[in-house]
């Protein structure tokens, strides 16, 4: 391990941390994604029951994917920084 002084100077000079998604956008992203999930879930409930549930699986997977990101964004905007 490099000695303390060198890691301190390295820490000072490297570019600051920046997240993939800007933090200011997270509340809006949470709102948009979760409303989309709500809408998709409602649509899912209206779908007919078919033997090969292609449509249901497609809707369910997009809804859960969007919901995954939406819940993480929601937690962060609520102050629980996950």
């Amino acid at each position: 391990m490099a000695d303390y002084e060198s890691i301190a100077t390295l820490h000072k000079h490297i570019p600051s941390f920046s997240p993939y998604i800007p933090v200011g956008l997270l509340p809006y992203l949470a709102f948009v994604l979760l409303t989309a999930v709500f809408g998709l879930a409602f649509y899912f409930s209206t779908l007919p029951k078919t033997t090969v549930p292609l449509r249901e699986v497609a809707i369910a997977s997009t809804a859960s994917l969007l919901g995954g990101f939406g819940v993480v964004a929601l937690f962060c905007s609520a102050g629980v920084y996950v």
């Binding site: 391990m1 303390y4 859960s64 990101f69 993480v72 920084y81 996950v82």
Partner: protein
Amino acid sequence: MAELWRSRASYILLGLFASSLVSAEHSFENTAIVRSVELGGALTHVTTTYAVKALEHDSSIYTIALSENEQKNTHWIQAKMKGQTVPLHLEHFGLNPNTGAYLYAVEFPTALKANASANLVVETVQTHASYPWPEVASQKDIQYLKYEADLFVLSPYPTSVQRTKVKSPSPQIGSYTTPKDMEAFTTDVPVTKSGSTVTYGPYSNIPASTNREFVEEKQKHIAVQYNYPNPVLEVTKLERSAEISHWGANLNIQDNIWLHNAGPALKGHFSRLEFQSQNYYNRLSPTTLVSLALHLPPGIRDVYFYDLNGNVSTSRLRTTPSVPKGSNSNQYTLFEMRPRFPVMGQWNYSFTLGWDSPLADYAGWDKESGSYIVGVPVQTLVPGAVVDEAEIKIVLPEGATDIQFSPPFPAVVNSVSTHITYLDTTGRPAITLKYQQLTDRHTGMIYVSYKVPLSAHLTKPFAVATALMGVFVLAFAWRRVDTRIQK
């Protein structure tokens, strides 16, 4: 350079331990030693200046000695050449069983020629060196503390002149020892008091003192009883938890603090009437801790302060804007807190203080190694307090690998564990560092470098997505099951 230092150091080690007289080379002579003791509450700052004259050509390794009592209480030591800012490396040689003196060796940056002189400044911080005397005091009494020390500064080299100045924070000094039988060292009065300084010395012609004969026969003990005008504070336990979030770009620091008022114990019962009248006339006794002003880092938000009963609303916060990562600015957020009750002598108060801060102020991305480097401050200083036990836990994001950490001073114990919190699947790596007896000079940042690939970042949303998918699968199955009781 390192090899040369090691071989010379081991030569010294051999030389010192081989002889019972710990002055193997006699290559130095102290022309003057001045020890300045700044009395405090739980912390005592001692600055010893050695004016050194080299007797041999090319002398550069100088040995400093601390007596057994001093070493027991000393928890921070630094040596510098007078006028310079860079501290010198101190080699610890430990206790010499023949003499009971702890030895440290320091190498001068430039070797001294014969009869050349240099000034070495050794700063130490002692903890728990003063104790309340008398041990009980009522709400109205003055707070007296007593500091005990050895009269002579030990040194393996002979000393021409030596003096010790004991500086009290207030001119009210209850009593101080007058050493007897000092004719060998001084013809004048052995101790003088002027204002708030008690001066022991100057004493002349002290021989090499790191030997049993001197320590047992010539060494004297002194004690000074002084008025300390502020509450004596101790943090018996500090648990700091620093949690890093990459999705929220946030560093949360939470301190669980167990505060103890180490002043004289309260005599009798707490009288609210007495307390209120003292408060009204602004004549609060220093045995009572009513409020504390802490300097928190700049740029923090969402500060919370609660104890076992719940939120403590008696506090004021004045924030300052964020400063860039790694800058040496002296900006701070002022947090004026009032514990839920006035903390009298020997009473305890425990609370939790935490805040969120932008991760960009503490962490950076190193492109060459592909890792993140974060700096976590070791402690928030409680003014004048000693931290008896500290445990600092740094929680890294989930899926962090290649973890390396470097603290500013070595920890007693390090460990890596797994910490599980919201939306975790595999858990987050957590580094725990334990310290003892931290003083106001133990500041600095613990640097941790770790790598988190994009896939590790995505485990969180995917975990939530899987849970939601599970709900959808349940709904899918539910729709196809006929739950009617009657058709």
